[in-house]
């Protein structure tokens, strides 16, 4: 079956190549942007203890006195070996980001595990019964929920469940010594908030993707072959809508990893988004770079996965003539 694997493989390889190129561009853009930032790690960390000698000494220790092109080159050289280097605080970047990335991934994974099937299922239901009550209700509510600022959702959820009903803790912060059950309970509110935010987006796009396929002649043909409507949606339309659905899911998954800063702030969840903002504030370049790479890699990776999925679901691309 050399014929069937080959196009995917070459596509994946070329996309991986482009993805790597994008990562390098991102790292370059971020690195230069950070070096344009006023102030330095030394000044940020030393605060009111920042005497010029102390700042100079620290900058020398961190190699910040080197020209930025040189610093970037050496960073790139280490990063290319898979080593994210040391944070300016002296701890390995992996140790700084690792636990927070784990938190972010946990939150993202649980949210995605609920949101993706739910969104696709409901999206299919809306497409199946388009114009009916369920469709109208879901269309309107999802429209409302993508129109609401996420901090608003977060606060409402918090007020109801934490302040008024006192059912759930207001802080999602996971700390050492909490067992997984307590962690889960603490994550309920952020998960709920994120669900409300991303569910709507994915649901609407699933519905739209299916409906756009529903206008195809082969869907009419299926009806003319007497296929019931539910099967028309599931068997005729859905396989051809996987591409666009996968790509909107990819965007939302990438968002779950990189875009939940507001949720992290409101629920005091120690995720990687806050880590990056913290690092930007402190000018901790290695950490900033690592976060940017993680975010960009997530975005590129999920999009690549979506592309692969849409190829696998599309015989035209999978089995070229």
């Amino acid at each position: 079956m050399n014929r069937t694997t080959h196009p995917i493989l070459s596509m994946v390889l070329s996309r991986l190549g482009l993805g790597l190129l994008s990562l390098v561009i991102v790292s370059l853009v971020i690195f230069s942007a950070v070096s344009f930032l006023p102030g330095s790690y030394a000044a940020a960390i030393l605060g009111q203890n920042a005497t010029p000698e102390a700042v100079a000494a620290m900058e020398r220790q961190l190699g910040l006195d080197q020209p930025w092109a040189l610093r970037y080159a050496s960073w790139l050289a280490t990063a290319a070996t898979g080593d994210l280097g040391m944070s300016f605080s002296g701890r390995p970047v992996v140790d700084v980001i690792g636990p927070r990335l784990a938190n972010t991934l946990t939150l993202a994974a649980i949210t995605a595990a609920i949101a993706v099937p739910l969104a696709i299922g409901l999206g299919i239901a809306c497409a199946r019964w388009r114009g009916r009550l369920i469709d109208r209700v879901l269309s309107t509510t999802t429209l409302a929920s993508i129109s609401v600022p996420e901090f608003f959702v977060a606060y409402v959820v918090m007020m109801i469940f934490a302040v008024k009903l006192q059912l759930l803790p207001s802080m999602a912060g996971i700390r050492n010594g909490m067992d997984f059950g307590e962690q889960l309970i603490r994550m309920i509110l952020p998960i709920l908030t994120l669900l409300l935010v991303i569910l709507a987006h994915m649901l609407r796009n699933t519905r739209a993707a299916i409906l756009s396929v529903m206008a195809s002649p082969y869907v009419e043909m299926a009806r003319l072959k007497g296929e019931p409507e539910a099967r028309v949606v599931m068997r005729q339309a859905l396989p051809n809508a996987i591409g666009p659905i996968a790509s909107v899911v990819a965007i939302n998954l990438a968002y779950l990893i990189s875009g939940v800063v507001v949720i992290e702030v409101v629920f005091v969840y120690p995720g990687v988004g806050q880590a990056m903002i913290d690092a930007v504030r402190n000018r901790d370049v290695p950490v900033i770079q690592a976060c940017a790479l993680i975010f960009a890699a997530a975005y590129i990776g999920f999009n690549l996965l979506a592309d692969i999925l849409s190829i696998v679901s599309n015989p035209r691309l999978l089995h070229p003539r």
Partner: protein, 292 residues
């Protein structure tokens, strides 16, 4: 089914067509348009409508309860909440609108240019946009605002540039569809310049799609400015802005007072209204061939 087109009896004028289109709009879209119009009126006439000034401290009691003098109470500095809300409409809408329009112009032009030019230009632009899109907006905005300072023009510019990547993507894709059509080729054969083709041949055809994208992006920008203000890096006090009003008064909310939700609800309400209109525009744009 469109054989009636062959013998059109009377071709309606633009106005009539617009009126007919409006009459044919679903209830949600009409509702959306009314709401948007109401917001715009409030925004434009804010100084006349608001009972007090934007930054005027009218009460010595911060977080005063709702009363006849202050229908929504006062905020953390003892300013009239309702007046802040009204001025907030003006600031929030105008800033979001300016941002959207700039990013629209920037994104559309570069997108169409990229599609028409093709080749290496297209590749370079697309790669760059891809890279930009793969970094979370918020991080970029934070850094840029750190470099250039958090002023309204800077805020508008940076968000406009980042949002223009979305317009770029869509307008490029839409323009690619159009550029494969014969009339664009005909224009090339005729010897037209790329700019002329972009403006006269391509743009009018991607406009409906771009308009709906414009509406959607307006909502996103509106929400992200609110989120930025919420995080404290957006529009700075004392300018009344809905996002920061939520944040500044969020404590009240913790105490069970819903007042801080009003600006958030205002954001949501406008966004919903715009989305209703966008939905309608989208369905019209997708049914373009039926529209006569």
């Amino acid at each position: 089914m469109n054989d009636s087109i062959a013998t059109p009896s009377a071709i309606p004028g633009r106005l009539t067509r617009a009126r007919r289109a409006l009459a044919g709009a679903p209830l949600t879209a009409r509702f959306g348009m009314v709401v948007v119009l109401a917001y715009v009126i409030v925004a434009v006439f804010a100084p006349f409508i608001a009972p007090y000034g934007e930054v005027e401290v009218v009460s010595r009691v911060p977080f005063d309860a709702w009363s006849a003098a202050h229908p929504l109470g006062t905020d953390q500095l003892g300013r009239d909440f309702l007046s802040r809300l009204i001025f907030g409409a003006r600031n929030s809408i105008s800033i979001a609108l300016a941002t959207t329009l700039i990013s629209f112009a920037l994104g559309c032009l570069t997108g169409m240019f990229s599609a028409l030019a093709g080749g290496i230009v297209d590749q370079v632009l697309s790669r760059f946009v891809d890279a930009l899109m793969s970094v979370p907006d918020l991080i970029f905005i934070l850094m840029i605002l750190s470099i250039f300072g958090s002023s309204v023009p800077n805020l508008i510019l940076i968000i406009a540039v980042l949002t223009s990547t979305r317009f770029f993507r869509i307008s490029r894709a839409a323009a690619l569809n159009i550029t494969s059509l014969d009339f664009v080729e005909a224009a090339k054969v005729r010897g037209e310049t790329l700019l002329w083709i972009a403006v006269h041949e391509v743009f009018p055809n991607i406009l409906p799609l771009m308009l709906s994208e414009l509406g959607m992006r307006f909502c996103f920008i509106f929400l992200s400015i609110a989120a930025l203000s919420f995080l404290g890096v957006g529009i700075q006090p004392p300018t009344a802005e809905w996002g920061s009003m939520v944040r500044d008064n969020a404590a009240l909310f913790s105490m069970g007072d819903i007042t801080p939700l009003i600006p958030a609800a205002s954001i949501a309400f406008l966004a919903i209204a715009v989305n209703f209109v966008v939905d309608w525009l989208l369905s019209r744009a997708s049914g373009l061939q039926d529209e006569v």
